[in-house]
């Protein structure tokens, strides 16, 4: 709302320049978008949705009058013409008839016919409109706009002689009824739309925009001036459906002043007289079938103190509310406050508390601290989980990234199961943000590509975030690793990242949540390279998947196909269930020494290490404490298709020192079993 400073000064003699006025009003709930120091200075306020009354100079002047304790000089109104009609008992022929059929969509409709002389407005009027941001058109339209900016009441002037039957019918449109609006657009109306029609067809979309056919122009001599109140939700629906926002619709949809329509006519009449643009003919019309009594709200001093935390004197409360236009009466233990019709935002006691607090000044409120009256509940375990994830993964060299939860459909499809569509957004910003991500990997891959394009080859990223699969919204942790597996250093060449790097990182993460016995199982995924793809599980629970990203997929996201990216994604929701460490009991440390035996065997190269480990475990006595692969060799001395595997076996008993003989016979037994089960030869 552009407040024209001299216009404000007509209404209330504010004690300061535009900057100081703006600064003070900014502290009363009217945010200042800017102050312009032109010939007519302007303060541009951002009016919040609850204060349609302040989309007018009078509304803001009333606030200023309250701030500085000054009188508000209301604009001059023409006398109500009801008096003249009462004097002459002769019924006059109606110049204009109003037929209010839709009192739900339009609870009040005032109108008046005028004889007019179309011309241009005087300079002072044009200047004020322009300063307020409206283009002057002609003296009649300019006055309607002036009244709207001044008292907040939108008005519309029809060319009376272009209204069939000189009638205005307020009704709902018939579905499909056409209307060409003032902006020249041919619109098709639906049965929800409130229209102002003449005897034959719609002439305006009520509260939104007039029609082109009844527009006033140079040849107009008589007008029908409309000043009405429309139901906010009806205007809002129509404005949204037609994607048509106007000065009028902005005011009506937030809530007009139901008492203002006659005042709008009388103010326009006074201005027409002042600038010699026209004079009223016929009766003033005001159709208001169900008058609304003013709202009365009880306000307790105790409630003010309870909500604001400050005690405000009764005199201050009365002064503030009265200056804002409320009528305050004393009652037992409270005030009875009549709410003025323009304050559509005030509906209950706390709304009045806000008015008192606002003009008492938030800056004057004391600063206290809410009393803690109960111990706090333990924190959401997911918050602690995410902190642990960050701790572990940053310690492993991964930096945390954040990517959007919506992605391109094309980028999402490889991560959806066959035949499953990603969840789509109904009104996406663009194709790039069309669907909810089924996985965090696409975002991380794009981030790797972003870094790679900027010359950064060694990238380790992770993200904790939501993903959206057919089973719904869930939390996941994803890793992406490309380039070197270690930090570059003069002492050794960098080793490119491989499967076991990302597997190790995933295991480290699972281990942090007590899932130490995880295992990888060969798998296939449409986005991972066959042969370097695994699913990770702990017992019977599937935790996630990992492997090398399909090079073609990397390439499609702008990443070089010949540089591998390894990725992993783990279901974070599994960690909350598994993360409880309350059950932990510290283990007693072994009291007796262990014996180590190294065994090297040659087996088929396709034999999984897990199978070897399994055979060892089942063949070994309970004294086998651990099995670790420490070398894997193919080449000279090992037949083609075979591989040499070296294992370190550690034996230990909890209650005595093992003898060499015991370890030796256990080892022999294990080697025999390996030979039997896997055709393993000892080297």
């Amino acid at each position: 709302m552009r407040l024209v400073y001299p216009w404000l000064c007509d209404l209330v003699r504010v004690p300061g320049d535009p900057d100081s006025i703006a600064a003070e009003m900014g502290l009363r709930g009217f945010e200042v978008a800017g102050v312009e120091h032109g010939r007519l200075p302007v303060i541009d306020f951002e009016i919040t949705a609850n204060r349609p009354d302040c989309l007018s100079h009078v509304g803001l002047a009333r606030e200023a009058a309250t701030i500085w304790g000054l009188p508000l000089h209301m604009p001059e109104l023409a006398p109500a013409s009801d008096d003249s009609r009462a004097a002459s008992r002769e019924p006059r022929a109606a110049v204009l008839e109003v037929d209010l059929q839709d009192a739900d969509g339009c609870p009040r409709y005032a109108a008046q016919a005028f004889e007019v002389t179309i011309g241009s407005s005087p300079a002072w009027l044009r200047d004020r409109l322009e300063a307020a941001g409206l283009r002057p058109i002609n003296n009649i339209v300019d006055v309607t706009n002036y009244v709207m900016l001044e008292i907040g009441q939108p008005m519309h002037a029809f060319d009376l002689d272009r209204l069939a039957g000189q009638r205005l019918v307020i009704r709902r449109a018939r579905a499909g009824e056409p209307l060409r609006t003032l902006d020249g657009v041919e619109r098709t109306l639906d049965a929800e739309t409130v229209v102002i029609a003449d005897a034959e067809r719609p002439c305006a979309i009520g509260g939104v925009m007039g029609g082109l056919d009844s527009e006033i122009g140079a040849s107009t001599t008589r007008i029908a001036l409309e000043s009405a109140y429309f139901k906010p939700t009806a205007i809002r629906r129509t404005s949204r459906r037609l994607a048509l926002k106007t000065e009028a619709s902005a005011r009506f949809e937030r809530g007009g002043d139901i008492e203002a329509p006659p005042a709008g006519i009388r103010r326009a009449a006074a201005l027409f007289a002042q600038i010699a643009a026209g004079r009223p003919i016929g009766d003033a019309i005001d159709v208001y079938p169900a008058p609304r009594p003013p709202l009365e709200v009880r306000l307790r001093a105790s409630r003010i103190e309870r909500v604001l935390g400050a005690s405000i004197g009764a005199a201050d409360v009365r002064r503030i509310l009265t200056a804002l236009g409320f009528i305050v009466a004393d009652a037992a233990d409270a005030w009875l406050v009549k709410v003025p019709s323009y304050r559509v935002d005030v509906m209950r006691e706390d709304d009045l508390v806000e008015e008192v607090g606002r003009h008492y000044g938030f800056g004057r409120l004391p600063m206290t601290f809410p009393v803690l009256d109960a111990p706090q509940a333990p924190p959401d375990p997911r918050v602690a989980r995410d902190r642990t994830v960050r701790q572990v993964l940053t310690a492993a060299g991964f930096s945390e990234s954040m990517t959007f939860a919506f992605i391109e459909r094309q980028a999402a499809l490889p991560f959806c199961d066959a035949g499953v569509e990603p969840a789509a957004i109904a009104n996406p910003l663009s194709e790039k943000f069309a669907v909810l991500r089924p996985s965090l990997m696409p975002g991380l891959i794009d981030s790797c590509a972003h870094n790679r394009r900027r010359g950064r080859k060694d990238v380790r990223l992770f993200e904790i975030g939501s993903r959206f699969t057919p089973s719904g919204e869930g939390r996941a942790i994803a890793l992406a690793w490309c380039g070197a597996s270690n930090e570059p250093h003069w002492s050794a060449a960098a080793r490119p990242v491989d499967f076991f790097d990302v597997k190790g990182a995933a295991e480290l993460l699972c281990g942090a949540f007590g899932l130490v016995a995880t295992e990888c199982v060969t798998a296939e995924r449409p986005y991972l390279l066959p042969g370097r793809t695994a699913r990770l599980r702990a017992g019977a629970d599937w935790l996630g998947e990992l492997g090398q990203l399909l090079p073609a997929l990397a390439e499609s996201r702008g990443f070089p196909a010949d540089e591998p990216i390894y990725v992993a994604e783990i279901d974070a929701d599994r960690f909350v269930a598994a993360g409880a460490t309350d059950a932990l009991r510290a283990a007693t440390l072994p009291r007796f020494p262990s014996i180590v035996r190294d065994v090297s065997i040659v087996v088929d190269e396709a034999l999984p290490a897990a199978a070897v480990r399994g055979t060892i475990r089942s063949a070994a006595p309970p004294t086998l404490a651990s099995v670790v692969e420490f070398d894997r060799y193919q080449g000279k001395g090992v037949p083609d298709g075979r591989v040499s595997l070296s294992l370190r076996l550690t034996f230990r008993a909890p209650d005595r020192t093992l003898t060499d003989d015991e370890a030796q016979s256990a080892t022999e037994h294990i080697v025999e079993a390996l030979g039997r089960e896997h055709d393993a030869e000892r080297r």
Partner: protein
Amino acid sequence: MPDPSSQIDALRAQFDRDLAGAAGEPAVRAVRDRYLARKGGLLTALLKNLASAPPEARPLLGRLANDLKGYITTRLAERLAEVAVSRRPAGAVDVTLPGRAPSIGHRHPLTLVREAVETIFARMGFLVIEGPELEDDYHNFEALNMPADHPARDMQDTLYLAAPVRSAAGSPATLLRTHTSGMQIRYLETHQPPVRLIAPGRVYRRDDLDLSHTPMFTQVEGLVVGERVTLADLKGTLFAFLHELFGQERGVRFRPSFFPYTEPSAEVDITCSACGGPGNPATATCGLCKRTGWLEILGSGMVHPAVFEAVGYDPERYTGFAFGMGIERAAILKWGVEDIRLFYENDLRFLEQFPL
């Protein structure tokens, strides 16, 4: 023949110069050999020459020469001990070469701010809760005093789902939450006062990507409900929080505003980080705060009685306050980040600037 005593003085002076010029163990040993060698040592030669001095001068010259020999021997021993310390032992490394840094990653700057906020509020006794990012219309709008067709819905342009999706709360969701208030409603529905919590998380609005907008961003909202909670409590809490997050020297102000779910509502500003706040000469031309000296940082207010009614709390018995802050905005103001999109590009050069 020159005067023997001045010869002795000259040799002492020459020795001092030679020793001072000898750096490192080999050079010091060379000085020792030059003066003390049995064959051709300068001091050895001098002592031999003394034999040709007149007999009456010999005792004095002999004493002087012996003093010089003692001096040279002592100084050499001292210097050798000094240089021995700097001798490179076997297996020595060049300690000036770069070290092998263990890999360590960085937390995201938005996480740093979020965790700082969580820590401050946790110390004030606030519970941290998380909730679903997909919401239904009731929890995102209706329960917050924003029924369908409420004009305030325009303030938060919403992204809707083409078809309902099961949210993390297990209920069918129709939209991407525009704020984290929905989970506060969920909390109130299932708990009784007193309530004192913050709810951080990602939120979504239909905003085009530009320097200061992203369609997804991070918010932290707070809620306190009890029998004696006031607007003055809100003011005290937020001032303490902002002073801790942005520094005690930062100016903070509290002014009325409007949100459908609070009454009264307030916005909170902090003094501008670029110009230093109102009253500074730089404020007159400051682009960051649009020449006001103040930057908006928080929205807040007393919980609207209609919200309490929606969750079945008696608004006569309970009052409460709520607030919300954008984490991106806080990070931008804290560190002077020029483009909000940097938070979502994950350029390591950007991420690695922030503390571990």
